[in-house]
Chain length 195, copies 2
Amino acid sequence: MYPDVCLKLPEWIAEEVGDPARCYATLEERMALAVRLAARNVVTGGGPFGAAIFEIERGRLIAPGVNRVVAEHCSLAHAEAMAIMVAQQVLGTFDLGRADLPPLELVTSAQPCIQCYGNLWWSGLQRVVIGARREDVEQLTGFHEGPLPDDWAGKLEHRPPLHPIAVARDVLREEARAVLRKYAQSDGPVYNPGE
Amino acid sequence: MYPDVCLKLPEWIAEEVGDPARCYATLEERMALAVRLAARNVVTGGGPFGAAIFEIERGRLIAPGVNRVVAEHCSLAHAEAMAIMVAQQVLGTFDLGRADLPPLELVTSAQPCIQCYGNLWWSGLQRVVIGARREDVEQLTGFHEGPLPDDWAGKLEHRPPLHPIAVARDVLREEARAVLRKYAQSDGPVYNPGE
């Protein structure tokens, strides 16, 4: 009687990712994928955000993600959320920090908003790697980030009894900013419900 | 190449809801449904949380939700998130505050955690009605709520340029607490990834 919620990545995602077995050695290589996904998402009518889940040590890609809010009629379908949910389907668990898994991280082209911050908190991920800053998102595009808690990064890095989530920032920030700027110039929709 | 994310409500949900055309006049009637869904979810192996989206004025039910984290391998699938996502599928929009829709609200058996707080922020909903308090959840079950921003309720009620989200608390709090207590007594799993 009530519909299922079926969220899909765009059809182009596998082609854009390329070799699924490739290992991404550096944070910059991993971020370059997230930024490329964000850029392609803009061209195909989506929001200017890309993300991916990687094995921290080996750099193996577990799942990509792009913003699918408008396409999927789902305000939760931010790029980070899509990457986390797809990774959980790939690995068959709600806990990406499960003891038999290698440590995993979220790489995201822009700072997580309040919603994605919450997603990260319960994901089991052990690091977040961020491209553009909050002020880049808000000033360049008009998207809001919401009421992140004070010292949001420090709270990730120290949250007993939960394991810490390390934070790396400003990785390829300029490249990530360029996608946001391009989105603004393309007059893409800025969908802040309630504005 | 990457799996879709298909999230389903449990098979019993339509039966538990009963008459789908019923209008729920009072906040207590609406909360009674959320609490009943939470209680049934416990009996069937899920987390002790229930929620629903209603039309504020008429009390018409748009979508129910229960916690599906373990069943669906998805750390995002809290009761509030399920209700929001199903409502967005029912109405065919990511924006539950769209101008042609009546004002809608989230009724939840327990205070939203950091993740559900973020979901609420971008949902377009115009009110949240809460049963059990944060301390009820944390003390009775051991589930954490995460780093909600200071004055989380005030920030919902005043967030220009976005419309306000009104907050009603302690609705059927004792009934909602009873479900949490029952869950703890049943030795249900407390899945805080990373603990």
